[in-house]
């Protein structure tokens, strides 16, 4: 606190703020003060009457000291924009904003100062011999080019002291404080970013976010002590120095640095959770009393029991569509698999467990529902050709037959249905005795189906195999009702498989001129058929087509098939008839058969030499024993082919007209029921559920393969629906390498998932060519 250089006029120049009775305007007084300084006055005494801003802006004095004594009552902003070398002494209190924007003046106030003391000050010092009002030392700065501004207060500071304080030193001595319990006022130092506040006395808190208490260092203390002395001297209270010189009474507040402000001094959430929340609610928090489930955080990608979905290797859980759609239930897919594995013989032999006629039916006569349902068809790819392995089955070898159980079943009818059930019963170890009306076994095989459709030796070989398995056959056995009743008593079960023997004929005039298709085909098969050049077949189904084909063989030149509706014929029969030149006409209704041919309902005459009627056959049920009910001309059975008599089953065309494979499948099914019942087993479901075709992946296969060169190519192009083909794609695709192939001994293996690695992505299911892998929802956790 150096005194400014004293020079210029030593005389005191007095300026009054009053002219007579009139108060001088602030503007006029300012002009007078500036003028006096310009004229060289350096000691001024101003009698103030509330004028604004007295004592500021005296730069005209240059580096010379100017002193201003203010008596009376100065207005606001005494010494505002004060310059260095200006010394202002106010002999009483000051109004608001003393030293506002002070740029270097020293202002001594012998009394209290109002609000806003030192607001925005950046140089100089203000010494107040009393208290200050609100917002003192606010927005002060320290320009590094000059020394720091200072505010000295003998008493206390008002509220909001030091707001936005960015620099400078404030000293609050707390002597005879206006608010002795709190010398810094309410909410001091909010937004403080720089400077120091020395204070003496109690405080009521300060902005912890912005300021902190700091120890008073030696240099600080020395400075404070020295400057206190000067302050007290200037305000005329030197006697207080000894009282103030107690170091322990002083405290120092400094601004927090930006990095010190960053962290709020609050408890962390984790600590709150532990120390407050769980402490009050109990372990497990909000619902710890209701559940013990672990609720700690988990990542998005998880393994083990936390996976939402888990892969399951469902090898052979479902039937391939070929197997599922085969009425006989032959596992066609399994046969191709055996071929892929190089086990061709096993593949061939396997069929005999399901049918006695794998070659005749699968290879030639069946419309091959297996191929129609082949999954390859969903992408318009050629189905795997079952007929190839069917035909190969001609050399299938019989399995070893088990010893006979003693259970006996009488089978009435030696056609496909009857031989199927007898065959299956014997494979299970039960005896079957076949009663056949005709002179030889085989039913439609041997009597009706044209040889153009199947080579004779195929049937002979397969029938020969049947005879090895079913030795007890009684041919030419017309059975009457009482015979059947007797069989029912003598045997454990009776199976009726007599087929549909009676051709249906139209109830029209001249029908006696027509020949039934069944009779015609039988004669044709026997080589004794006769027909004219012009043949009309009434009924254009597959039997009608067979008749047309055979008629051609026996010399017909013009063959016409009629039907009342769109012909139901399809497949090989239809193709053969068309190849024989047969024409199809529909819808037509026949009114009459005449010597010349036939007349249609609309009167049209069609010339014909031979008229064959092929509108279906019905069974002859005259032999049915009491207790076996019929319905609309057929034997009535339940879903298991059991008739109303529990000891009697009925299968094949005697139940309803159908395909050979349906008759054979029914035989197999009945045999299974009889075996289950004989062995006291709970009947197993006849077939597995079919796999959803969409699970199978076709993209691994070349759609341009439309014909198959041999069974091996068939095997390779089979999709192996629902059955693992051991390709290892799943092992290769699994992103975390969680899938392993385990040898289970022999030819058995499994693919297994390490659940501690698996993330449940389902890539195995997506990549599996066979639809074996499935992605299932994991078990519920709570």
């Amino acid at each position: 606190m150096d005194d400014p250089k004293q020079s210029g006029s030593k005389a005191v120049h007095v300026i009054s703020g009053k002219r007579g009775d009139e108060r001088v305007r602030s503007r006029i007084l300012e002009e007078e003060v500036q003028e006096a300084v310009a004229q060289g006055h350096r000691r001024l005494q101003i009698e103030a009457y509330g004028q604004h801003g007295i004592g500021g802006r005296l730069w005209r004095a240059g580096r010379e000291a100017v002193s201003i004594r203010i008596t009376g009552h100065p207005g606001q902003r005494v010494g505002s924009m004060g310059f260095p070398h200006t010394a202002i002494e106010v002999l009483g209190p000051v109004s608001d904003d003393v030293g506002w924007l002070n740029a270097g003046a020293e202002i001594v106030v012998h009394g209290n100062a109002g609000n806003g003391a030192a607001n925005a000050m950046s140089q100089g010092r203000i010494l107040v011999g009393g208290n200050i009002g609100a917002r003192g030392m606010t927005m002060t700065k320290h320009n590094p080019r000059f020394s720091a501004p200072e505010l000295w207060v003998l008493g206390s500071a008002g509220d909001y002291f030091g707001e936005f304080m960015a620099g400078g030193i404030a000293v609050i001595c707390g002597h005879e404080a206006q608010t002795p319990e709190n010398v810094l006022g309410h909410r001091p130092l909010v937004g403080m970013v720089g400077g120091q506040v020395f204070f003496r006395g109690p405080h009521g808190g300060f902005s912890q976010a912005d300021a902190r208490l700091a120890p008073i260092g030696e240099a600080d203390w020395d400075w404070l002590l020295a400057h206190l002395k000067i302050f007290l001297k200037k305000i005329g209270r030197s006697e207080l120095w000894r009282v103030f010189a107690e170091r322990e009474h002083w405290q120092l507040l400094v601004a927090r640095k930006p990095n010190e402000k960053a962290g709020r001094a609050t408890r962390s959430i984790a600590a709150f959770h532990r120390e407050v929340w769980d402490a009050d609610l109990g372990p497990g928090g909000l619902i710890g009393d209701l559940t013990r489930i672990d609720r700690s955080a988990i990542p998005l990608i998880v393994t083990g029991s936390l996976r939402r979905f888990v892969p399951v290797w469902e090898n052979q859980k479902y039937a391939a569509p070929c197997e599922a759609s085969c009425p006989t239930g032959i596992p066609v897919q399994r046969r191709w698999q055996l071929i892929r594995e190089g086990r061709v013989d096993e593949a061939v032999d396997l069929a005999l467990a399901y049918t006695p006629f794998p070659a005749a039916v699968c290879g030639y006569l069946c419309p091959n529902l297996c191929m129609q349902s082949c999954t390859r068809g969903t992408a318009a790819m050629a189905p795997v050709d079952t007929t190839r392995i069917g035909q190969a089955s001609i050399r299938a070898k019989l399995p070893e037959l088990p010893p006979l159980s003693g259970r006996r079943t009488a089978v009435i009818g030696g056609g496909p249905a009857g031989l199927s059930v007898a065959w299956q019963l014997r494979l299970c170890g039960h005896e079957a005795v076949v009663y056949e009306l005709a002179g030889r076994l085989g039913g439609k095989f041997t009597r009706v189906i044209p040889e153009s459709r199947i080579p004779r030796e195929v049937i002979e070989i397969e029938l020969g195999r049947v005879k090895e398995v079913v030795p007890h056959v009684y041919l030419q056995q017309p059975l009457a009702r009482e015979d059947v009743s007797r069989l029912r008593e003598d045997f454990d079960f009776v199976v009726i498989a007599t087929g549909a023997q009676k051709p249906r004929m139209l109830p029209i005039p001249g029908i006696e001129r027509a020949v039934a298709a069944l009779d015609f085909l039988e004669a044709a098969k026997a080589g004794t058929a006769a027909c004219g050049k012009r043949v009309v077949v009434i009924g254009a189904g597959n039997v009608g087509c067979d008749a047309a084909t055979e008629a051609r063989r026996f010399g017909a030149e013009d063959i016409l098939l009629l039907d009342v509706q769109q012909p139901a014929s399809f497949g090989r029969e239809r193709q053969a008839a068309e190849a024989a030149g047969a024409r199809f006409r529909w819808p037509v209704v026949t009114r009459e058969i005449t010597a010349a041919g036939l007349t249609l309902a609309d009167g049209e005459d069609i010339a014909a030499d031979t008229i064959i009627v092929s509108i279906g056959d019905v069974p002859d049920l005259s032999f049915l024993p009491e207790g076996v009910a019929a319905e609309r001309g057929f034997v009535k059975v339940d879903a298991d082919h059991r008739t109303s008599d529990p000891k009697v089953f009925a299968i094949g065309d005697v139940v309803r007209p159908g395909l050979l494979t349906e008759a054979i499948g029914a035989g197999r099914r009945v045999a299974q029921s009889i075996c289950d019942e004989s062995d006291g087993r709970t009947p197993a479901p006849f077939r597995r559920q079919m796999i959803e075709k969409r699970r199978v992946t076709l993209e691994y296969f070349d759609p341009r393969i439309t014909v198959f060169s041999d069974v091996h190519q068939c095997g390779s192009q089979c999709l192996s629906c629902g059955a693992c083909r051991d390709c290892g794609v799943c092992v290769a695709i699994c992103p975390p390498g969680a899938i392993r192939r385990n040898e289970l001994g022999g030819k058995n293996y499994e693919y297994a998932v390490n659940e501690n690695l698996c993330i449940g992505c389902g890539f195995c299911a997506g990549a599996c060519p066979c639809g074996v892998w499935n992605l299932e929802e994991n078990y519920p956790l709570e």
């Binding site: 709150f272 909000l286 955080a297 389902g762 997506g766």
Partner: protein, 544 residues
């Protein structure tokens, strides 16, 4: 789908879907994370076939024809597995190789989301971009006309009153005569609106409650949260934290048996009782918690058997008129706590709101009225309810406030407004606008879901599957495998962050109005809008 298969009317192509998965073969590492995380199994590993035909130059050899297969991520087109656009695939993809994109035209999927004749329901997003509240400006910047304040450094007491405030003379009279004085709570003006334990996952709910407790106990902000209709965990009922809780009772009365049994053991009264009559975003539609979300835990809290669907009817069954509803329900709920707890109804925004309000003004026990506007919304509901029903909050709250002014009761019956507050991110601005229109306080739900838990929803029908228990963030799922993705502490921290930043923003808005200790409730001369008709309708300034 195999192109050779027959199609049905609902056979859609990827192009027809609302969200289309863009997958990049080049950057994909086939790590499986996207398919593992997809909440709706919309994507799977696909096997693709690729042909390479190489005609030889000069035809010296036969043309090459190589067929190969390769793997990639395939989007399913079955509407049952349609991508919901949540983009969790993108979140887990290490190479940014996959992301859903919104269809570039109106999707066909929307016409096929009603299998079995069940109209589409979705998880509580209204999907209307923009909100009127965003257009309201605070035009009174009173730097000199009122003492302007500094939002950052001045002291603010942003509090509001929940409860019936008696006129001073009446209050004095009651005190003199030892009469009953209605309970009034001084609370923070932003209330977390009712989202039930059950609608929300345990971790989400606990995170919210703990965040609220933290705000109260560590930061001195008296924030309150409504339970929604789903009861309240027994421990919370018996803890001191109950005073931060507004217990909601709604038409299903779920959990109230447990609440009543807890009353004798309560350490604190709850903040208030909210009687829910309607939800703004799906008015007229009741609540339905599907059976698969009702696990043992939810069942215990709601006081029902596990594994059954819990429908809340659209109406309270034993109430037949406004008079009766108000009198009966408010009285009953007040009685439960000896008339110490404020009880107020919450209705959906409606053209009949004034009828309810008029009724409440005549009921001395009514502690306030909460009106929930059509926008926003967190509850699952039918599409048609969400898209086509409801009343905007702005005019509703304004009319209600002006009605109170007419009756001279604007300081007596507080109004709480909700519905789309902050739906575009402007929580404080929307809240302040509603306050200046006349609301004493604001309820917000969706903003909290979004900000406190990272809800993926947007106003473009993204995700929106809160109702089926598959929330990929674990906010509305009851399966621990999903809700454990949400860390309780993180939610609490975000609640704290949200309220602190809201507080600063609200101060930034009210400080220039010179308000620091009383909210500018109904201070409509501070509000302006650039649409004349809107200004007229809301009795605010038209500014351009």
């Amino acid at each position: 789908m195999q192109p050779e298969r027959p199609i049905s009317p609902s056979s859609l192509s990827v192009k027809d879907l609302r969200w289309q998965i863009l997958w990049d073969k080049e950057t994909c590492t086939l790590c499986g994370k996207c398919t593992a995380v997809c909440p709706v199994n919309a994507i799977e590993l696909g096997v693709f076939r690729k042909r390479l035909i190489e005609p030889p130059v000069g035809f010296l050899e036969p043309p090459g024809n190589i067929t190969k297969s390769y793997y990639g991520v395939r989007q399913k087109t079955d509407p049952a597995y349609a991508c919901v656009g949540c983009a969790m695939c993108n979140m887990v993809c290490p190479n940014n190789a996959i992301a859903p994109m919104r269809a570039d035209e109106v999707d066909k999927l929307r016409f096929h989301l009603d299998r079995g004749g069940q109209p589409r329901r979705r998880g509580g997003r209204r999907n209307v971009p923009g909100v009127l509240l965003d257009r309201l400006k605070f035009i009174r910047i009173s730097m000199l006309t009122d003492p302007a304040l500094d939002a950052g450094r001045h002291e603010f007491e942003l509090r509001t009153l929940l409860g019936r405030v008696l006129p001073p003379e009446e209050n004095l009279q009651h005190i003199r005569e030892h009469g009953w004085i209605p309970p009034v709570r001084e609370i923070y003006p932003l209330v977390i609106g009712g989202m039930s334990f059950g609608a929300l996952s345990p971790n989400m709910w606990e995170g919210l409650q703990m965040g609220v407790a933290y705000l109260n106990e560590e930061l001195g902000m008296p924030v309150r949260m409504s339970t929604g209709e789903g009861g309240c965990p027994p421990r919370l009922l018996r803890s001191r934290f109950l005073k931060y809780v507004i217990l909601q009772i709604a038409s299903g009365y779920f959990g109230w048996d447990e609440i009543l049994h807890a009353i004798p053991e309560m350490k604190e009264d709850p903040c208030a009782i909210e009687i829910k009559y309607g939800q703004g975003a799906k008015p007229g539609d009741g609540g339905l918690l599907m059976w698969y979300k009702v696990n043992r835990l939810i069942a215990a809290i709601r006081g029902v058997p596990a594994g059954v669907s819990l429908p809340s009817p659209p109406t309270h069954q034993t109430q037949y008129s406004i008079e009766e509803s108000v009198a009966k329900m408010i009285q009953s709920m007040s009685m439960a706590w000896g008339f110490r707890v404020p009880v107020y109804p919450k209705i959906s925004g409606t053209s009949t709101a004034l009828a309810v309000l008029n009724n409440l003004t005549r009921n001395p026990y009514a502690a306030g009225l909460a009106i929930d506007g059509e926008d926003g919304g967190t509850g699952a509901a039918y599409n048609v309810s969400m898209n086509h029903m409801g009343h905007p909050i702005a005019s509703n709250i304004r009319d209600a406030y002006l009605t109170l002014v007419k009756l001279g009761m604007q300081n007596q019956l507080p109004l709480f407004a909700g519905g789309g507050v902050g739906k575009t991110g402007n929580l404080a601005a929307n809240a302040a606008a509603l306050i200046m229109l006349g609301a004493s306080g604001i309820q917000t739900g969706k903003y909290i879901m979004q900000a406190a838990a990272g809800c993926l929803g947007s106003e473009s029908d993204r995700c929106n599957i809160c109702n089926i228990g598959l929330c990929p963030k674990g906010i509305t799922a009851q399966d621990p495998r999903l809700y454990r993705r949400l860390n309780v502490d993180d939610v609490a921290q975000r609640v704290v962050d949200v309220f602190l930043s809201f507080d600063t923003e609200l101060k930034k808005i009210v400080a220039p109005l010179g308000r620091s200790t009383s909210l500018p409730i109904g201070m409509s001369d501070a509000l302006g809008v650039d649409d004349y008709r809107t200004a007229e309708r809301l009795s605010i300034k038209y500014v351009v």
